[in-house]
Each structure stands twice: as structure tokens, then as C-alpha cells.
């Protein structure tokens, strides 16, 4: 490692709150070397983003202030330089890319212009030259048709392309240091792999130094040179990735590594829990039977006079059977129709064609009967724990209402039942009086599961129910499911695009692509020997925590890019 390019010394950031100051970053020190990729990991709220924003003094609120410490770049302390100087540092020396490209790109401006803007300001060139340079950058970050795509608006691109544009914007100022704040969290595994590959390529070609923020150890394992672990604003440990992953010092780090779904320990644990399909009584009637299901949505935004399809098929001809007590995982990239399938089988979305029956009742032919059965015997758990709970109701009120409406428990038994449910999901009974906003994501998700259990379901459909959670919490929730399944003999339909979790939880897995099932089978079979190229691509794209298992971007670059941006082509011509 060469001489440190950027060094942070004893950095502290304090929040001047209404009830006294709170230290958010506590005496943080680290170095970033030339051409190095440094990973910053840690749970949500640990201060990763704040640290990086402090480097360029972009505090999210005037109530936050750097109280001590120094950020040294080229012999200057960035915490002390003038406002004009720090503005010069931003972009030119230190560029940033953000987690959510949608909100960080100007929706009203052409992608290309946003890149050209930085070039004009920082390099002081005229419009024409800036445009040429911007086209160049577009090509570098992997836009297949820069000239045409220059005039595209952010919303016309897919998430992956937007993130590429975001990187392009950051590169426009030709920085030496790039801060990437969770650049792939919002993206599919496949796209994630491409973006990470892009970042590493850029490091190679431009000699960039990168600070990579993430909470996924797999990503750091695949991309970083060194890793820093943050917790509650403090640096727990820092070191070379092999050292740190191999011999974590701090118990928190050890736990973090152990929670990673791709860890051998967890995979071993899983196999002991799996009830083999053969264990299911073969003659049992399937709980769910789906036969050639089609779900189509009317397409808005197409005028009276424009031709083209007026319907969009989200699910096209899916057939699937789920036995009682089975745990089936549904995977597939974003938009492949997973949620739609789940909603259709619960009778929450009208079915366009085909048949779905639950416990023998066809939800098209015998709608009333099937629906009442579904409402009483199925429940859903949702992705975003906060959005899934009505923010105005306490957990107790919410559960009581479900119990009252379901009418399965006598009125006077309701409080007691609420207690039992909370016990079941591992929440203190006092949570009955809390509202979602005063609870953490994991606690909310548990409450959501308690609500699902309140109906005494035979079937639980969990739609991306851990995607929004920290790895450590993720692991807890997955354990909870496993436990409940065993104790209550639940049938579980588990939707996720995180294949590692599915692999650790489910017996059977269904892979969806563009509304169709492309592969289906026992989890281990599918994961160890995928038949379809798509499935393989999905599996390969999972960043493994083992740095030596290299990340393979699926189907190599351009083909997929072409496809994801295909939608765009006719929009901007």
C-alpha cells in the first residue's frame, strides 16, 4: 500500500439535539491509500454515510457539526479550508455516488447534460467540448449507445443504468477519490455484480481510490482491499480483508460474519432443519394449485392513437403446486412477477386467465368460498416493515382488530392471545402499547409476523420480508420463520431476490423470469446444478463472503445492458 492519499484523524461529529448533544461519530481515524478500495461496513445507523459526508462537509442538517479531528488531503485539512475551497474539493478531488440514483439524479435534465454540467464547471470548457467529454464518460460507464442515450431522462432508464449514470456524473469531475455509499443496495444481484465490476474496472483504468459503504460483507469481500467496521459511530476494527474476514477480532465483527447467509456455518445449520420433501405425506392434497395462471395489467400511458399492446403480462402461464407444510422459495430479478404471483394466489389481484385453488376451493369459480377461506387461513408478511404496519395504531390495537374481525377468539380472550402472539415472535409483551415509529425495523417485522400469525394461518406468504433489514436482523427473522414453521406446521411461500437466504430456508425453489417459471426443484439441486443459464447467472452474481470465490458478472457485460436499456430505445428516439 502506498502513501495515504486521504487520512482521517480523530474525527467527531456531534448532533445538537433538542435534548442535549449526541455524538454520532466518535474519534474516527483511518487512511485511504492511492488506488485502494476501502470498505466501510456496519449496521444501519452506525455512521457510515455520515462519515463520508463529513469528509466533504456536506452535513445533512445544520444541527450536525464536526467538533474535532482533521481530514487531510494533499496536506490540507478539509475541515478547516474555506467554503470556496471545499467546493473545489467536492467533485474534483472527491466524488460521490449515492445509494438511490433515482432521487440523486435531476429528473428534469438529460442524463448527458448532468454529466456535462460537472465537466463545464470543473474543467471550464465550453458546451461542445463538455458534450464530447460526457459522451466519452457515458461510454466508459457502460452505456451502449452514448450518443442516443445522452438525451435520455433518468426515469427512462432501468435502475442499473441509472446507477451507471450516477457514477458517470461523479466521474465527470475526474475525481481522485470516489465515495460510493451503498451503490448497489437498491439493485438486483445481477445488476449489482455489473456495477461492482464497473467500479473495479474504473479503479484499474483511472487509478481511483474508492471508499465503499455497504452493509453486505459479501460485497466488501469481493471488491475491497481493506475493511473498516463501524458501530455506533466508533471504529471497531480495520484491516486487510483477508485478515479481517479470516480472523475477526471484535465479537461484533465475528457475529456479522457468522450471520452472512453464504457462510458455511449457516448452510450447515440449514440442512439439519430441512424436512425432506419425501417426508411430506405423498397423497396429501396440495394446499395451493396454480394452473396456467396469467395476470395482465392494463397499460397506462399509451394514448388512444398509439398502437402497441394495451396490456402488460406480469405473470404468463405459471403452474405450481404447493403441499401443506412445504417451504417454497420464489426467486427472480426485480419485475419478474414474484409479487404479482403471490397477490394473485391470495385473491388480491384479479386473475386474467387460468386457475388458482386454495385448499380445494377455486378462487375464480367459487370466489366467495375461496376468499373466505383465504382470508381465514392465509396471511402475508411484507418487505418494508414500516410500511406494512399502520403507523397510527399500536401493535396491540392492530392485533386486537385482526382477532376481532377474524372472530376466531372470544372477545375476553383477545388480550391474552395478543400476549401469546408477541411471545411467539419474540417480542416483549409491552410492545402491545407501542406504535411502529417507536420500534426498530426488526421489531416491526416481528410485529408484522405476529399479525400474520393472528389469523392462525395454514399458509404464510412472505414477500421480500427481510430485504430491508440488516444482515444480523435478517438472520434473526429467518431463524424465527424456521422455528415457527416447525412449531406450527406452516406452509411458507418465501419470495426474495436474495438467493442466499432462500437457499438457507427453503426446501424447494422456483425461479421466475419475465413472468414465467424457468426452473423449479429442490433447493440444493437447483443451487448446485442449475439447469438454466438464467439461474446460473443469478447464483453467480451473489457476492460470496469468501474473497477467493470471484464475482462473475452474469453473461458478461453488454448483452444484458442492452436488454435492460431496451425499454429506453424507443422512448427517446
Amino acid at each position: 500500500m502506498s502513501e495515504a492519499l486521504l487520512s482521517v484523524r480523530d474525527l467527531s461529529v456531534v448532533f445538537a439535539g433538542d435534548d442535549g448533544p449526541r455524538t454520532l461519530i466518535d474519534n474516527l481515524s483511518f487512511d485511504l491509500g492511492q488506488g485502494e478500495i476501502l470498505g466501510l461496513v456496519g449496521e444501519s445507523g452506525s455512521g457510515k454515510s455520515l462519515t463520508c459526508r463529513s469528509l466533504v462537509r456536506l452535513m445533512p442538517s445544520p444541527k450536525l457539526a464536526i467538533t474535532s479531528g482533521a481530514v487531510m488531503l494533499d496536506g490540507r485539512d478539509l475541515t478547516k479550508v474555506s467554503e470556496a475551497d471545499i467546493r473545489d474539493v467536492r467533485g474534483r478531488d472527491i466524488g460521490m455516488i449515492f445509494q438511490n440514483p433515482t432521487s440523486h439524479l435531476d429528473p428534469l435534465m438529460h442524463i448527458g447534460d448532468q454529466i456535462a454540467e460537472g465537466i463545464r464547471v470543473h474543467r471550464g470548457v465550453d458546451g461542445k467540448a463538455a458534450r464530447a467529454a460526457a459522451l466519452d464518460i457515458l461510454a466508459q460507464v457502460g452505456f451502449p449507445h452514448p450518443a442516443r442515450q445522452y438525451n435520455g431522462y433518468p426515469h427512462e432508464f432501468s435502475g442499473g443504468m441509472r446507477q451507471r449514470a450516477m457514477i458517470g456524473v461523479a466521474l465527470s469531475c475526474d475525481p481522485r477519490i470516489l465515495i460510493a455509499d451503498e451503490p448497489t443496495t437498491a439493485l438486483d444481484v445481477t445488476i449489482q455484480a455489473q456495477i461492482l465490476k464497473l467500479l473495479m474496472d474504473l479503479r484499474e483504468s483511472r487509478g481511483l481510490s474508492v471508499i465503499m459503504i455497504t452493509h453486505d460483507l459479501g460485497i466488501v469481500a469481493q471488491t475491497c482491499d481493506r475493511i473498516a467496521v463501524l458501530r455506533q459511530g466508533k471504529l471497531l476494527e480495520i484491516g486487510g480483508k483477508r485478515d479481517l474476514l479470516g480472523r475477526p477480532q471484535h465479537p461484533y465483527t465475528q457475529n456479522l460474519i457468522a450471520s452472512h447467509p453464504s457462510m458455511p456455518a449457516r448452510q450447515a445449520a440449514m440442512s439439519s432443519h430441512i424436512v425432506h420433501p419425501t417426508a411430506v405425506v405423498p397423497k396429501a392434497r396440495p394446499l395451493i394449485e396454480i394452473d396456467d395462471l396469467h395476470v395482465r395489467f392494463p397499460v397506462t400511458g399509451r394514448g388512444l392513437f398509439s398502437g402497441g399492446p394495451r396490456e402488460f403480462s406480469a405473470v404468463k402461464g405459471v403452474s405450481l403446486q404447493v403441499m401443506p407444510g412445504e417451504t417454497v422459495g420464489i426467486v427472480g430479478e426485480s419485475g419478474s412477477g414474484k409479487s404479482t404471483l403471490a397477490r394473485a394466489l391470495l385473491g388480491l389481484t384479479p386473475i386474467s386467465d387460468g386457475h388458482v385453488s386454495f385448499d380445494g376451493a377455486d378462487i375464480v369459480m367459487e370466489r366467495a368460498k375461496a376468499l373466505s377461506k383465504l382470508r381465514q387461513e392465509t396471511a402475508m408478511v411484507f418487505q418494508d416493515p414500516y410500511n406494512a404496519l399502520n403507523p397510527r395504531l399500536t401493535i396491540g390495537t392492530m392485533l386486537a382488530e385482526v382477532l376481532a374481525v377474524q372472530d376466531s377468539v372470544p372477545k375476553e380472550r383477545i388480550p391474552e392471545r395478543i400476549g401469546e402472539l408477541l411471545d411467539l415472535v419474540g417480542l416483549e409483551r409491552e410492545f402491545a402499547g407501542r406504535k411502529p415509529l417507536s420500534m426498530s425495523g426488526g421489531q416491526c417485522q416481528r410485529a408484522g409476523i405476529a399479525r400474520a400469525l393472528a389469523v392462525n394461518p395454514k399458509l404464510i406468504v412472505a414477500d421480500e420480508c427481510v430485504a430491508a433489514l440488516d444482515v444480523t436482523i435478517q438472520a434473526q427473522i429467518v431463524d424465527l420463520f424456521r422455528d415457527l414453521k416447525r412449531r406450527l406446521n406452516l406452509t411458507l411461500l418465501f419470495i426474495a431476490h436474495d438467493l442466499a437466504i432462500v437457499r438457507s430456508l427453503c426446501e424447494r425453489v422456483v425461479v421466475m423470469y419475465h413472468g414465467e417459471i424457468v426452473e423449479e426443484g429442490p433447493t440444493e439441486d437447483v443451487f448446485s446444478a442449475p439447469r438454466e443459464a438464467y439461474t446460473r447467472a443469478l447464483i453467480d452474481a451473489i457476492p460470496d463472503i469468501d474473497p477467493d470465490k470471484r464475482l462473475v458478472p452474469p453473461r458478461g457485460g453488454d448483452a444484458l445492458i442492452e436488454e435492460t436499456s431496451g425499454l429506453v430505445t424507443d422512448e427517446i428516439s
Binding site: 474539493v89 449515492f98 440523486h104 429528473p107 460537472g118 431522462y153 392513437f305 398509439s306
Partner: protein
């Protein structure tokens, strides 16, 4: 251009709206007690004279038949004849439409001229003294009854300072604009308070938002951050607010027209209602409705022009 396609079929949606408005106005004005013939004849009316006038204007026909004739006329692009003015309603309206349109236009421009800089000032000094002053003025200014404000402006600017004419509508373009300054100012003062509040809130949100952070992280000077990113993005919600307010204004200029003696449609309408000049009320209502519809239509186009995400 793909995204402007709605321009072609949008007007079709408005036909039922206009039909609904014609029906409601027709029924409504005829529900009002009072007889146009009697109003026309004044205090010295006699029953025979009243009957003669009613017959002349077809008011003795059953109401559904009258409506039928009205629609029939409308289909031929006519709106009947004014009972009070004895000329074609459409012609009458064309003689009165200009001042109202000009007034609305000038007021809107003026209020934008007032609102955009003030809102920018306030948003950029968020929490500072300038912000407090602007907020105070805009909150306080909302409550002024327009006719009171108008008189105060006349007394101050026209009588005391002799800067502007007291009232009236000029002869040529420059003169007309000169006459329109005070009336537009009256409206603009209250309209701009609404705009300032909306713009300021939007700008503050944008200034704090991801967009501005991203631009700053690229080292963009604050002026570019503000004018290239924050302002356009804050305008989007304001365009709609403005459209609703313009729609409201179009039918509500009567007080200002009356204080400043502008020969516009508002005055025509009020007099028509008071004298039960049915045809004129209907005609003006239709014209106002069309104007409102048009304004919303323009607002749609503007929104689409500013914001590529919006598709109708």
C-alpha cells in the same frame, strides 16, 4: 413527440364537462326567482308588456324546449341573443373578453415576478431574517379583502402620488398595460402570497433534498445548484397550484373589474345575473368554463414540458 400525444385526445374529455356546465347553468339561472322581462321593463311594467317580451324571447316555452333550442344554437356556434343588450351573446362577449383576459394574464405574470424572487430569497435564507420577513408578509397578506386593497392602492398610488390612473382601460397596448398595473397588482398581491408559500416550501425541500446534495457533492456552486436544479424541480407542483388559481381568477375578477371600472366579463356577468339575462349568463359561464379548461390544458402541457416523467 411521444409525450405530448395527450394533446390530441384530451379535448374530447372536456366535452362532457362543458355539456354538464351548460345544463347546470341553464337550470340554475332559471331557478332564480325573478323575470327578465320585468327587469327590462323596470318599475313601470305592466302585465301585457311583460307577456309580450316573454313571448318575444321564447321565455314562455317549456324549459326543456328552451334548453333544446339553446343546444341547437350552440351546435351552430351561437349562444342566443341578450335580452338586455339586444345583440348576439357571442358578439357581446367578444367586446368584453379582452380586459378580463389581459387582467388575468398581467396578474399572473406580476405575481410570478413577485413570488419567484421572494420565495427564492426566503428559501435560500431558510430560517434567517429574510425568510421570516417573507413568511410573515405572505402569511399576513393572504387575508386582505381585494376590494379594500384595491381602494387603498388607488388612494395611495393614484390620488396621492398620481402615478397611475384611478381606473379605466386604455386605448392602445401601452396605455392598456399602464391602466392594468394597479388592478393586476391588487390580484397579484394576494395570488403571490399563495405562490410564495408553495414555492418556498418546495424550494426548501429541494434544497435539503438528495438532488441538491448530489449537485453539491459534485462541487457545483450554490447558484447552479439553486437555479439549475432546485428551481425547476420546485416549479412542478406550483404550476398546478397556479392553474387552479387562474381558473378561480377567471371567474372571480368581478370585484377588481368593478373597482377599477374595467369593462370585462365579470361585470357583464354580474349585471346579467342581476337582470336575469339568461342567455348572457349561460354564454359567459360557457366561456369561463372553456377558459378554465384551457388553462388546465396549458398547465398540463407546461408540466409535461418541464417534467419528462409526467405522462398523461
Amino acid at each position: 413527440m411521444h409525450r405530448y400525444k395527450f394533446v390530441l385526445y384530451r379535448p374530447l374529455q372536456f366535452l362532457p364537462v362543458l355539456f354538464g356546465i351548460s345544463l347546470i347553468t341553464f337550470v340554475l339561472v332559471r331557478l332564480i326567482p325573478g323575470d327578465p322581462a320585468r327587469v327590462l321593463l323596470g318599475t313601470k311594467s305592466t302585465p301585457t308588456a311583460i307577456a309580450a317580451i316573454r313571448a318575444q324571447y321564447g321565455l314562455d316555452q317549456p324549459i326543456w324546449l328552451q334548453y333544446f333550442y339553446f343546444l341547437q344554437n350552440l351546435a351552430q356556434g351561437e349562444m342566443g341573443k341578450s335580452i338586455l343588450y339586444k345583440i348576439d351573446v357571442l358578439r357581446l362577449i367578444t367586446t368584453r373578453i379582452e380586459p378580463t383576459l389581459a387582467l388575468v394574464l398581467c396578474s399572473v405574470l406580476l405575481s410570478l415576478i413577485i413570488a419567484v424572487p421572494l420565495a427564492s430569497l426566503a428559501a435560500r435564507s431558510n430560517g434567517g431574517p429574510a425568510d421570516h420577513i417573507v413568511r410573515f408578509i405572505s402569511t399576513f397578506g393572504i387575508g386582505f379583502p381585494p376590494f379594500w386593497l384595491a381602494l387603498m392602492l388607488i388612494i395611495f398610488f393614484s390620488v396621492r402620488l398620481d402615478l397611475f390612473p384611478v381606473s379605466g382601460y386604455g386605448e392602445n397596448l401601452a396605455d392598456k398595460l399602464y391602466h392594468l398595473i394597479l388592478p393586476s397588482l391588487t390580484i397579484a398581491l394576494s395570488l403571490s402570497t399563495v405562490l410564495i408559500r408553495s414555492l418556498r416550501t418546495a424550494m426548501i425541500a429541494e434544497l435539503k433534498g438528495d438532488l441538491a446534495t448530489a449537485a453539491r457533492a459534485r462541487g457545483m456552486p450554490e447558484s447552479i445548484v439553486f437555479w439549475r436544479h432546485v428551481v425547476p424541480n420546485s416549479l412542478v407542483p406550483t404550476v398546478n397550484l397556479l392553474a387552479v388559481n387562474i381558473g378561480w381568477l377567471i371567474g372571480g375578477t368581478v370585484v377588481v373589474e368593478s373597482v377599477f371600472a374595467l369593462p370585462g366579463m365579470g361585470q357583464l356577468l354580474v349585471r346579467a345575473i342581476f337582470s336575469r339575462d339568461y342567455m348572457v349568463v349561460q354564454g359567459v359561464a360557457m366561456v369561463f368554463a372553456c377558459a378554465t379548461v384551457l388553462v388546465n390544458f396549458i398547465a398540463d402541457i407546461v408540466t409535461v414540458a418541464i417534467d419528462p416523467r409526467v405522462k398523461q
